[in-house]
């Protein structure tokens, strides 16, 4: 590790921050192409219906309309990340209100919206399935009658409206519970949360003279967009290029196809560029949400407070289409044991189709739901055995070297340190011993919750090149959705080659120019992308050294990198610059210097002898990260309103490549978690969303959240990570809701097991108790 910290460990603002703050940054809707048309999408008015007929002639005839498409204009071309149950537009059936059924391209947005009104579609309404019980009942209407025939990338054990049934088990849970002195059991209910990124989904597609489509869009993965567009249109990846402009947030909702296939189809049809930008209402109604869930959990311990067993049964509501859902359920099952040494564990779950918009990945990926349940139960048990919530967690904490469910080794864990720091920085012991009421006399309480998550999954790669002038070109394909990937990867690259970060050209992710990266999700870009960058830099360094050795007439072992793009003979002043080396390579010998590194997550695989995994879609994932969050709340007992007062958030990040960026991710994730805990809920009325607007679906603003949100960075070196780093994109959100619920319990004596903890819900709970 270098002593100098100009790069790794430097709290640099985002490299592109100036352009974002002066209006120069271009997001998809800021782009325009000559003779561009505007697309608009017609959504289904019904939650479940057969499509009987289409009448589009009037729409097609409207002056200014250049294309109207429906499923009838395409052969059957299914798409879907895991189960291919979708098509570019609803085909034969509609399965949720808002499902795209038709699309138009017209000279402007006004004409496009007018054209939508002229499309007549006849539906035969079918009974809608709107909740778990309806979906699981014996005579439930079946949402996907052809589920059996869909292509699936794993054996998902489907049945009726159950899309996937999974089981993860270790030890002997039934026997273990018999031996427990203390058992708590409960059912928890969590809601659908909307991603509510500030930039609505958008795509601009243009076809060139070779019929190759270029797509600029708001996305989290150029490779997923490319794959989805190709599948939706039945074309080869060589015919689709995806480029990344600035992206205004994603949080998991822009990982899979949004409006790109439709924009591409309209561009192909009209031979003109077509831009599709969703209105906020359409974005709420047509796209995605977090999985609503029902969680049954039972946890058992000895009277000394040692955890012995946990059993979990999950129901996750996938909505109308599969998307990433089996992964979300699986991850929930995988993480529900929590960051504790619980030897006996059984988690089973069902993923259920309903006639609501599809549920997808959303920061936390199934973990927030189970952590809500699990961390409340930890507090309940701690209370029963008479242990402080921190002491109880410390007693059972996973440590470095322990095995996770499935047998993978926890290669680094700052969990114990997170517990220590969160406890001391929040002044937990003193404040719990003598809780200060609020100045207004309202009760206050503090709660703690812990989390575990992972950051290593799937494949990624990086290519580093030396430009002729010795500066660095970095191609990773890792999309910066605002979390700071461009900056962090540039810092890692700069550090690896001992150059200033300003000498690194971070190439905008572009499927023509950048190598494969699964996507920005699973908190993986710093860890996976960073490892690829380190590997590519090492390959470049090898080539640089070969040239330098020749130029300086020494062996490569005598050389070292020096600041500023310089290679030096150790202990001497003899040096040569990257510029000189690059000229030699380009014009003299060997050719341009290119280094690359590509890999799929290569941590320890699951151990089938240790753990039963049935219907589990993951083949490998890991590198565990931990966190502890303490929240203080104030409760207005007259109204049930819970006001967050302060928070202390300790996160185990391995190494903070950019502490400023890490803090921002922790704080932002936590506030999104406060939204999940207290205010946010998508509400349906007979299958139609009641609150698909920013007016009615409220995300927190400056006056709703405390200023005292203190991020605490804990660094326990992760040997496999770039400079010891792990990820931090998701953990901020994962423990917020249970920390708040535990704080409310401390303040009021009442335990709540349903989210969100709206004033009304808390009010009723306080009255009942």
């Amino acid at each position: 590790m270098s002593a100098r910290s100009a790069n790794v460990g430097a709290s640099l603002p985002r490299l592109e921050a100036a352009g974002k703050i002066n209006g120069a940054a271009k997001y998809t809707d800021d782009l325009a192409r000559p003779f561009m048309l505007h697309g608009a999408i017609l959504g289904s008015p019904l939650p479940h219906a057969r499509i009987v007929s289409y009448e589009v002639r009037r729409a097609r005839a409207l002056p200014g309309v250049e294309a109207v498409i429906t499923a009838q204009d395409f052969p059957y071309l299914p798409l879907g990340a895991i189960v291919k149950d979708e098509t570019i537009l609803a085909r034969e059936k509609v399965r949720y209100v808002g499902e795209p059924v038709a699309a138009v391209a017209a000279v402007d947005r006004t004409v496009a919206l007018e054209a939508l009104k002229l499309i007549e579609i006849e539906y035969e309404e079918l009974p809608a399935v709107l909740d778990f019980d309806a979906a699981l009942s014996a005579d439930a209407p079946i949402i996907h009658e052809q589920l059996r025939d869909y292509f699936k990338i794993f054996d998902c054990r489907f049945n009726g409206n159950v899309l996937s049934e999974q089981l993860v088990a270790e030890g002997d849970v039934d026997k273990a519970f018999v031996g427990c002195d203390v058992i708590v059991e409960g059912e928890f209910v969590t809601q659908a949360q909307a991603h509510a990124y500030l930039e609505p989904c958008a795509a601009l597609a243009e076809v060139d003279d070779r019929n190759k489509i270029t797509i600029w869009s708001s996305h989290q993965s150029i490779n997923r967009v490319q794959a989805n567009v190709c599948e939706a249109l039945g074309i080869s990846m060589s015919q689709v290029r995806v480029i990344t402009p600035r992206v205004g947030g994603g949080f998991g909702g822009k990982m899979e196809a949004t409006v790109q296939p439709i924009a591409a189809a309209l561009a192909l049809r009209t031979k003109k560029p077509v831009k599709v930008v969703l209105s906020r209402e359409d974005d709420f109604a047509m796209m995605r949400s977090r999985h609503p869930a029902r969680i049954w959990m039972r946890t058992g311990a000895t009277r000394d407070g040692v955890l012995v067993a946990r059993e979990v049964k999950l129901l996750y509501d996938a909505g109308a289409y599969c998307d990433d859902s089996p992964g979300v359920l699986a991850f929930g099952l995988y993480m529900a044991r929590g960051p504790y040494r619980i030897a006996n564990y059984r988690a089973s779950g069902k993923l259920v189709y309903t006639n609501k918009l599809r549920a997808s990945g959303f920061r936390g990926f199934g973990n927030p739901q189970v952590t809500f349940a699990g961390e409340i139960q930890i507090d309940e048990i701690a209370e029963k055995v008479g242990l402080d919530p921190f002491d109880f967690r410390m007693r059972n904490a996973i440590r470095t070297g322990d095995k996770w469910v499935g047998g993978q080794t926890v290669t680094s864990s700052g969990f114990a340190e997170c517990l220590k720091q969160a406890r001391s920085r929040s002044d937990w012991d003193r404040r719990r011993a003598s809780p200060s009421g609020a100045p207004n006399g309202r009760p206050r309480g503090m709660g703690v919750a812990a989390l575990a998550h992972i950051c290593g999954v799937l494949g990624t790669s990086a290519i580093i090149r030396l430009a002729e002038d010795g500066s660095i070109i970095l191609n990773t394909g890792a999309v910066d959705i605002g979390q700071g990937a461009d900056t962090v990867l540039a810092q890692i690259c700069a550090e690896s080659l001992r150059v200033d970060v300003s000498r690194v050209n971070v190439v905008a992710p572009d499927t023509d120019a950048t190598p494969y990266n699964w996507g920005t999700g699973a908190s993986r870009v710093t860890y996976m992308g960073g490892r690829a960058v380190v590997g590519a830099a090492a390959a470049v360094k090898d080539k640089i050294f070969m040239h330098a050795a020749a130029m300086l007439e020494c062996g490569v072992q005598d050389l070292e990198l020096s600041d500023g793009g310089v290679v030096r003979v150790k202990g001497t002043d003899k040096k040569v610059s990257f510029f000189e080396i690059s000229l030699r390579a380009h014009y003299g010998l060997g050719g341009p210097i290119i280094g690359e590194h590509a890999f799929v997550y290569d941590g320890e695989p699951f151990d089938p002898k240790r753990c039963t995994m049935i219907g589990f879609p993951f083949s490998n994932l890991g590198v565990y990260m931990f966190g502890v969050q303490v929240v203080e709340v104030e409760v207005d007992e007259d109204t049930g309103q819970v006001v967050p007062v302060a928070a202390w958030l300790a996160h185990d990040v391995g190494r903070a490549i950019n502490p400023l960026a890490v803090e921002g991710q922790i704080q932002g994730g936590f506030v999104q978690g406060l939204g999940y805990a207290l205010w946010e809920e998508l509400i349906w009325d007979n299958g139609r969303l009641s609150n698909p607007t920013m007016m009615d679906y409220k995300i927190p603003g400056t006056l709703d959240v405390p200023l005292a949100i203190e991020p605490i960075i804990v660094e326990e070196h992760e040997a496999s990570g770039p400079f010891g780093a792990k990820g931090v994109g998701e953990p901020g959100i994962i423990a917020a809701a249970p920390a708040v619920a535990n704080a409310v319990a401390a303040a009021t004596g009442v335990r709540f097991r349903q989210l969100p903890l709206t004033p009304e819900r808390v009010f009723r709970g306080l009255i009942r108790s």
Binding site: S11, P13, R14, E16, A17, A18, G19, K20, I21, N22, G23, A24, A25, K26, Y27, D29, D30, A32, A196, Y197, L198, E199, P200, R246, V247, G248, G249, F251, V277, S279, R280, I481, G482, Q483, G484, L660, A661, E663, G664, Q667, G668, G669, F670, V671, Q672, T693, M694, M695, I699, G701, T702, L703, V705, L707, I709
Partner: protein
């Protein structure tokens, strides 16, 4: 379609206005000023915030025809001599900028605040920015940025 002159960032610009067009649409599609964003088109999210006659305003709720004769300042008009304004610089340095989509509106709202109150306390900062939603930052570093701008003793 009517031809009209809008005063934007100190310059007179000729635009053609269809009655129902908002100032936001005209700025973005006719004047190439894409800094102000369309996040909700309902006046809730704040990412379209501009200054009209010095006051923070929702460009999505202002009909372009009614902006004629008023002084409009967008995020693009905050720089001086090609350099970020002190408020903008503070936002960059404080680490407030993540995805950036809310930032034009946010920094315009902060600029409006500091132009009438050069030393706001935390509560005043929060009130002034209460109408600017951000999904990335959790607001802490945004408030830090405005505080930083005030201690630099500058306002726009």
């Amino acid at each position: 379609m009517d031809s009209a002159v809008l005063i934007v960032n100190g310059r007179q610009s000729r635009v053609s206005i269809d009655g129902h067009e908002t100032l936001l649409e005209v700025l973005r599609t006719q004047l190439g000023l894409t800094g102000a964003k369309r996040g909700c088109n309902q006046g809730v999210c704040g990412s379209c915030t501009v200054l009209i006659n010095g006051l923070a305003a929702r460009a999505c709720l202002c009909l372009a025809a009614l902006a004629v004769g008023k002084e409009v300042v967008t995020v693009e008009g905050l720089e001086r001599d090609g350099k970020l304004s002190p408020v903008q610089q503070a936002f960059v340095e404080a680490g407030a900028v993540q995805c950036g989509f809310c930032m034009p509106g946010m920094v315009v709202a902060a600029t409006a605040l500091l132009s009438e109150n050069s030393a706001p306390d935390d509560e005043a900062i929060r009130v002034a920015l209460a109408g600017n939603l951000c999904r990335c930052s959790g607001y802490v570093k945004v408030i830090d940025a405005v505080r930083r701008a005030t201690t630099l003793g500058q306002s726009q």
